[in-house]
C-alpha cells in the first residue's frame, strides 16, 4: 500500500499533467479511505455499525447545507446565511410543532416555505443589485439571526410533538430518519446537477459567466434558482436539527455555513465555480464528521480538531489549484 502510494506520487512529479489531475479528482476519496483505515487501527470502537450510523446521522445536517452551497459555489457565488437560515426555519417550524396544535405537514410546510423565501430573497438581491454574494449574504446572515431571535423572543421554543421529533430522532427500517433524508437529498441534488438543463447552466455560469450569457442562458434566473435551493435545503437542515434536539433554538447553527462551505471545498468544488460534484461534497462532509468523531473516540480535545480541520481545508484548496493548473 505504502510503496504503491509513494510510486504514485513520484510518478506524478515526473509527468505532472495526467496524474495530478487524478489526485485532484480522487485524492479526497483516497484520503477519506486512508483516514478510516487509520482510525480503525487506532480504536476498535470506530469501525462498528453503531458508530458509523452515528457519524452519518451527525453529518446529515452539515451535508444538507453543503449540497445547497455546492450549487451556489458552482455558479461562482457564496452563501453565508446558511447558519442563520437554519435558526430561522427551525424556530418557525418549532412554533407550529407543539403537540395537538397542527398536523405535521404545517410545521414542515411553513419551515420549508420560510427557507425558500429567505433563499429567494438572497437570490433576488444578488441578481438585482449586482452586489457581491459575499456581502449580500453577510447582511442576510445578520438579518436572519435577528429574525430568529424576534420570532422566538430570545428563548428556545420547546415542547414539540412526538411526530415532529420523529424527523430527527426516529428510525425507518432500522435506519435513522436523518440518514434517509440525507440520501434522498443527495440523489435529487446529483440528478439536478447531472441530468437537468439547470445543472448544465449552473456549470456553464461558473465556468464563464460572460460566455454563458452570450450563449443565451438567463444567468439571473439560474442564480435565483440556486440561492432558493440553498434556502430550501437549509430549511430541511433546520427542521432536522430542531427535531433532533427537540427544541427550536434561535442561536442554533452559528458557524454552520463555514462547515458547509468547508465540506464543499474539501470535496473538490472549485472556489471560483464551474467544477465540483455532489459526491465530492458528500465525502467532504463525511470526512469532517469522521475526523470529529474519531478524535472524540480517541479523547483528543476539540482544540486539536480545529487545527486538523483547518489544515485539511487548505490542503484541499491547494489540490484544487494543482488540478486546475494541470488543465
Amino acid at each position: 500500500m505504502k510503496e504503491t502510494l509513494i510510486a504514485y506520487f513520484n510518478r506524478s512529479a515526473e509527468s505532472p499533467a495526467l496524474p495530478t489531475r487524478r489526485i485532484g479528482k480522487y485524492g479526497i476519496f483516497l484520503a477519506f479511505i486512508l483516514l478510516c483505515v487509520l482510525l480503525s487501527l487506532m480504536t476498535p470502537r470506530f469501525l462498528t455499525v453503531a458508530n458509523l450510523t452515528i457519524i452519518v446521522t451527525q453529518v446529515s445536517i452539515n451535508a444538507l447545507l453543503a449540497f445547497g452551497v455546492t450549487f451556489v459555489i458552482l455558479t461562482g457565488g457564496i452563501d453565508l446565511s446558511l447558519g442563520s437560515m437554519v435558526a430561522v426555519t427551525g424556530v418557525v417550524a418549532a412554533t407550529f410543532a407543539h403537540p395537538d396544535d397542527y398536523p405535521l405537514v404545517v410545521p414542515i410546510g411553513v419551515g420549508l416555505l420560510a427557507g425558500v423565501l429567505f433563499g429567494a430573497l438572497n437570490g433576488f438581491v444578488i441578481t438585482r443589485s449586482k452586489v457581491a454574494p459575499f456581502i449580500v449574504t453577510l447582511g442576510t446572515m445578520t438579518i436572519g439571526r435577528g429574525l430568529a431571535l424576534i420570532i422566538s423572543k430570545g428563548r428556545p421554543v420547546s415542547n414539540l410533538s412526538d411526530s415532529f421529533n420523529f424527523i430527527g430522532g426516529g428510525h425507518l427500517f432500522g435506519i435513522p430518519f436523518p440518514i434517509i433524508i440525507l440520501l434522498v437529498a443527495f440523489a435529487v441534488c446529483s440528478l439536478i446537477l447531472k441530468k437537468t438543463v439547470l445543472g448544465r447552466y449552473i456549470y456553464a455560469i461558473g465556468g464563464n459567466e460572460q460566455a454563458a450569457r452570450a450563449s443565451g442562458i438567463q444567468v439571473s434566473r439560474v442564480k435565483m434558482w440556486v440561492y432558493t435551493i440553498s434556502g430550501l435545503l437549509a430549511a430541511v437542515a433546520g427542521i432536522v436539527l430542531t427535531s433532533r434536539i427537540t427544541t427550536g433554538q434561535p442561536n442554533a447553527g452559528v458557524g454552520f455555513e463555514l462547515s458547509a462551505i468547508a465540506a464543499a471545498i474539501i470535496g473538490g468544488t472549485s472556489t471560483s465555480g464551474g467544477s465540483g460534484t455532489m459526491a465530492g461534497t458528500l465525502i467532504g462532509a463525511l470526512l469532517i464528521g469522521v475526523i470529529s468523531n474519531g478524535l472524540d473516540l480517541l479523547n483528543v480535545t476539540s482544540y486539536y480538531q480545529q487545527v486538523v480541520m483547518g489544515a485539511i481545508i487548505i490542503g484541499a484548496v491547494v489540490l484544487d489549484g494543482l488540478n486546475r493548473k494541470s488543465r
Binding site: 452515528i54 451527525q58 427544541t247 479523547n299
Partner: protein, 315 residues
C-alpha cells in the same frame, strides 16, 4: 414578552449603529439625568435564555423604581462590551451594570468605568479587577452541588463524564473547580472523559453519542455545565437506551430542564436564581447612586432541584 423583543430590537439597532459608526460616539442627546437616574446595562448575550431572564428582571425592577435603562447586548464579545462601557461613560450614565463576557478580557471595562468615577456592578459572573459591587452566585458552589449529588446517587463510586461550557469563561472555570473539589473527596469517582460542549445542546448531544461509542456502559454519570448541554446528553443517552442507567445533572434550571426533571429524564438541575440576581443588581445600583449603604458582594444561593422539589420551581 412584547417588551423583551422590543428591547432586543432596540439593542440590536444600537449595536448596529455602533458597528457602522465604527467607534463609540456618544449617543446624540445623551443623558439629561438631573432628576432621573440613568443606568447603562451591558449583557453577555441576549441569545441565552438565562441572561434574558436576568435582563428582564432588571428591566421590570427599573420600571417600578422609575429608573431609565439603556440595555445593550455584548453578543459574547469582550471587545464589544468594553466599547459599550466606554460609550456609557461618554453618555454620562449614573451607574453601569455589566454582565461580563469573560474573566480577564472584560476587566478593562471595569477599570475604565472606575477611572471615570462611574460606579459599576458586575452581575452573574466575575471579572479579575474588582468592581464597585458584585451580585451573583458563587459558581463553584453549583459545580460542588451537582457533583455531590452524583456522588450520593452513585454511592461514591463510578465513572463520570463532564461536559464543559466555553473554555475560559468564569462559569465554566468555577463549575469545573467545584466539581473537581468533590471528585477529590471521593477517590471512587473517576472522571473518564471531559470536553467542551460550548454551552450548545446539539454539540453536547454529538459528544455524548461519541462517548457512548467509546465507553458504553462504563458511563455512570454525566455532569453538564448547563441545562442545554444536559438535555443534549439526556437525548443521546435515551436514544441509546441507556438513560435509566446513567445519572445526568446540569445547572441553570431552565423551563425545559425543569420539565425533564419532573418527567424523570434529567435527574437533577441546580437552580440559579435569575430573578434575584437581576433585582438585587438594580437595587444595589440605585443604592450606590443615592449614596445609601450597600453590600459590596451579594451572593444569591444555588439550590438543588430534583423530582421531589421540582414543583415549587415551575411557573
Amino acid at each position: 414578552m412584547k417588551r423583551t423583543s422590543f428591547s432586543l430590537i432596540q439593542a440590536s439597532i444600537l449595536l448596529l449603529g455602533l458597528h457602522l459608526a465604527g467607534c463609540n460616539q456618544s449617543g446624540g442627546d445623551g443623558a439629561d439625568g438631573q432628576d432621573k437616574i440613568v443606568v447603562g446595562v451591558s449583557m453577555l448575550s441576549m441569545q441565552n435564555e438565562f441572561i434574558v431572564n436576568v435582563a428582564d428582571e432588571i428591566e421590570k425592577k427599573a420600571d417600578e423604581m422609575g429608573v431609565e435603562l439603556i440595555t445593550v447586548d455584548a453578543e459574547r464579545s469582550p471587545l464589544k462590551q468594553i466599547e459599550q462601557v466606554e460609550s456609557f461613560i461618554a453618555q454620562d450614565v449614573d451607574v453601569i451594570i455589566m454582565n461580563p463576557c469573560e474573566v480577564e478580557a472584560s476587566s478593562p471595562a471595569v477599570t475604565k468605568a472606575l477611572a471615570a468615577k462611574v460606579p459599576i456592578i458586575n452581575v452573574n459572573s466575575a471579572t479579575s479587577s474588582s468592581p464597585t459591587a458584585f451580585v451573583g452566585s458563587d459558581d463553584v458552589e453549583s459545580g460542588r452541588i451537582a457533583m455531590e449529588y452524583i456522588a450520593k446517587r452513585l454511592g461514591g463510586k463510578g465513572n463520570v463524564i463532564m461536559i464543559h461550557g466555553y473554555m475560559g469563561q468564569a462559569a465554566q472555570l468555577q463549575r469545573e473547580q467545584g466539581a473537581r473539589e468533590v471528585l477529590k473527596k471521593y477517590p471512587g469517582l473517576k472522571l473518564i472523559a471531559h470536553q467542551s460542549g460550548e454551552w450548545d445542546r446539539a454539540k453536547a448531544m454529538s459528544l455524548t453519542e461519541n462517548w457512548i461509542q467509546s465507553y458504553g456502559s462504563n458511563i455512570q454519570a454525566v455532569f453538564a455545565h448547563n441545562d442545554e448541554m444536559g438535555m443534549g446528553a439526556v437525548k443521546a443517552l435515551s436514544d441509546a437506551g441507556m438513560k435509566d442507567k446513567v445519572v445526568v445533572v446540569s445547572v441553570d434550571a431552565i423551563p425545559d430542564a425543569l420539565q425533564a426533571v419532573q418527567k424523570g429524564t434529567l435527574d437533577a438541575t441546580v437552580f440559579q436564581n435569575a430573578e434575584q440576581q437581576g433585582s438585587k443588581a438594580i437595587e444595589t445600583a440605585i443604592k450606590i447612586v443615592k449614596g445609601q449603604p450597600y453590600d459590596a458582594q451579594t451572593l444569591v444561593p444555588f439550590q438543588l432541584v430534583t423530582k421531589e422539589n421540582v414543583a415549587q420551581y415551575m411557573k
